[in-house]
């Protein structure tokens, strides 16, 4: 139930993001989610693409440094407290969230969140045991 996140090394210079999104656009790759963590000198761009393998191959060809990271996507009710309830469960089960971010758009009153944890299997089991169903890649438009 994990999905592939592509993590790309970013130098802090103007135009780098435009370059990355540009080459992906040329290949007709759609981005489902995007997140950036940065220091003053460099950063890590994390993205979920509809065609992860193709997106990774395209970026590698362009000389970018990247890695594929397994992450878990979860639907949460798009209402106050929706996310808090899920995080509460993870806290009780001692699951440390390294980072998380949201997926673009809302479907049927649900928002989608992407979680990065050390042990994805445990996360999935804990979510299921607490009645939260992780969502598959297909449901996010990932082929």
């Amino acid at each position: 139930m994990t999905i592939h996140q592509i993590s790309v090394f970013l130098e802090n210079r103007a135009g780098q993001l435009a370059e990355i999104t540009g080459v992906l656009a040329k290949k007709g790759i759609d981005l489902r989610a995007i997140n950036i963590a940065e220091t003053s000198d460099y950063g890590v761009l994390r993205l979920i693409a509809d065609k992860p393998q193709e997106a990774a191959a395209t970026l590698l060809e362009q000389g970018f440094i990247l890695s594929m990271t397994p992450v878990v996507a979860v639907s949460v009710p798009d209402e106050p407290g929706g996310l808090a309830r899920v995080l509460d469960v993870l806290a009780k089960e001692n699951i440390d969230v390294e980072y998380m971010y949201s997926v673009f758009g809302q479907v049927d009153g649900l928002a989608h969140m992407v979680f990065r944890v050390a042990d994805t299997e445990k996360l999935i089991a804990v979510l299921k045991a607490n009645g939260v169903e992780p969502i598959s890649g297909e449901n996010l438009g990932i082929r």
Partner: protein, 432 residues
């Protein structure tokens, strides 16, 4: 009115200086032959015995000694005296590979301090002065050398060492420091701090003795104007004793080499041929009075010019220009010797490719060192914390190797400029 620490030596006739040099060189060659097997072997390889060296005119026959020799002979291979007669070591900054350890007998220290005392008196120092020594103390020669010279002159000596600007300024104001000894970049930094804090009227400085790194005439004028002092250059290297090998007089047109202790030559760095006076080339020193660590024809790698033109100060010692560059790839950053190979070693140890660029600059009169390193797939992670931790350990390893802080900048692959397929390893943006 020019003053001298040892006028009978500093203003001796050229004939007298040459006579001292002849006598001491012959004695030194014999001393080295008798006591330093490493150098004796080098002489034998050239078919030389001490009898071949009858005076300064025969100096060119002797083999050169390079930093590689010093490294090969590390630690005791060039020691000229039994350990029981040695009382001190000083060392260059490199922590591996390029480290040089120099030894001193009490007599060596005594002569070294005389040299520093000459520099202090040339800068106007007397026993009425308060001499504020902000060179680093410890293995670095700057602090111990000027400290000893200051004692000899009879100045009240403030062994401040470097760093802790607040304390530096407080002592300077409270104790009325009159002579400041430190690196030029630290002098510029202190001048800036004094200016910012409006302390200019509360300081009593009249002179500064600044060395251990290259500085421009422009920087000199800037420091002089900001502190209201006269700034004097001083030169030296650990291998030959430390600061005080040469020093500036009131004329500020070059540094007088203490020729009663050192014979200077200028050579073509490629052929090793001795060049005539006034030529630009590599400076070579022979120490003719050192007991514990006698170096014959030591190649400094500093490029400069010697002149024997009469100096208005009255000193008769030959003058050397400020070093105009290096004949190897050594950088001097914040007074510390940095070799690109040291940085390369750290990068490889830490799992980075040997693809890097060193950028040296001078910001607000202080040297900065930046190492650009290309990110690799192996080192990359989706976790920013992992990358920053790696960066931190690289910074710490560089600090341990170089002794100074180097900023690390992680860049994308193929960012580092290559010319004709060969990467440009060092970019020195300092205008010196």
């Amino acid at each position: 009115m020019e003053r001298y620490y040892q006028p009978e030596i500093e203003c001796a006739s050229r004939e007298q200086i040459l006579a001292w040099q002849n006598e001491r060189l012959v004695k030194q060659v014999q001393h080295v032959w008798d006591n330093v097997p490493y150098y004796r072997k080098k002489m034998e390889e050239k078919g030389l015995t001490p009898a071949d060296i009858k005076g300064v005119e025969d100096l060119h026959k002797l083999p050169f000694l390079s930093k590689d020799d010093l490294r090969e002979a590390y630690p005791y291979g060039l020691l000229g005296m039994p350990l029981k007669d040695c009382v001190r070591i000083q060392s260059t900054s490199g922590t591996t590979g390029r480290r040089v350890v120099a030894f001193y007998t009490q007599h060596d220290i005594d002569l070294w301090e005389d040299c520093c005392a000459r520099a202090i008196v040339a800068a106007g120092g007397t026993n009425e002065d308060v001499c504020h020594v902000s060179y680093g103390y410890g293995l670095f020669t700057g602090g111990p050398g000027l400290n000893g010279g200051s004692h000899k002159v009879g100045c009240l000596t403030l062994p401040m060492s470097s760093g802790n600007t607040d304390r530096q300024l407080q002592f300077m104001v409270d104790l009325g420091s009159t002579i400041l000894c430190c690196t030029p970049s630290y002098a510029a930094y202190l001048a800036e701090s004094i200016h910012e804090r409006g302390l200019r009227d509360q300081i009593k400085l009249k002179a500064g003795i600044f060395g251990a790194e290259a500085w421009s005439e422009e920087m000199r004028r800037d420091i002089e104007a900001k502190l209201g002092i006269k700034a004097y250059d001083i030169y030296g290297l650990t291998e030959t004793s430390g600061p005080g090998v040469s020093f500036e007089c009131s004329e500020q047109t070059g540094m007088h080499i203490n020729e009663d202790h050192f014979i200077a030559e200028i050579i073509d760095p490629d052929t090793g041929e001795v060049l005539p006076e006034g030529s630009k080339g590599e400076l070579v020193f022979t120490s003719i009075t050192k007991e514990a660590f006698p170096l014959l024809r030591y190649r400094t790698r500093d490029i400069c010019i010697l002149t024997r033109e009469k100096c208005s100060c009255g000193r008769t010692f030959v003058k050397m220009s400020k070093p105009m560059g290096r004949s190897d790839d050594m950088l001097i950053v914040k007074g510390v010797n940095v070799f690109p190979s040291q940085i390369e070693t750290v990068l490889l140890e830490q799992g980075y490719p040997a693809n890097y660029q060193i950028i040296v600059d001078r910001v607000n009169n202080s040297d900065t060192l930046e190492v650009m390193v290309e990110m690799t797939p192996e080192n990359f992670s989706d976790s920013l914390a992992k990358i920053t931790n790696m960066e931190k350990s690289l910074v710490a390893a560089l600090k341990a190797m170089l002794g100074i802080y180097a900023k690390v900048r992680l860049v994308a692959p193929k960012t580092i400029t290559r010319s004709e397929g060969k990467a440009v390893r060092v970019i020195d943006k300092r205008k010196i």
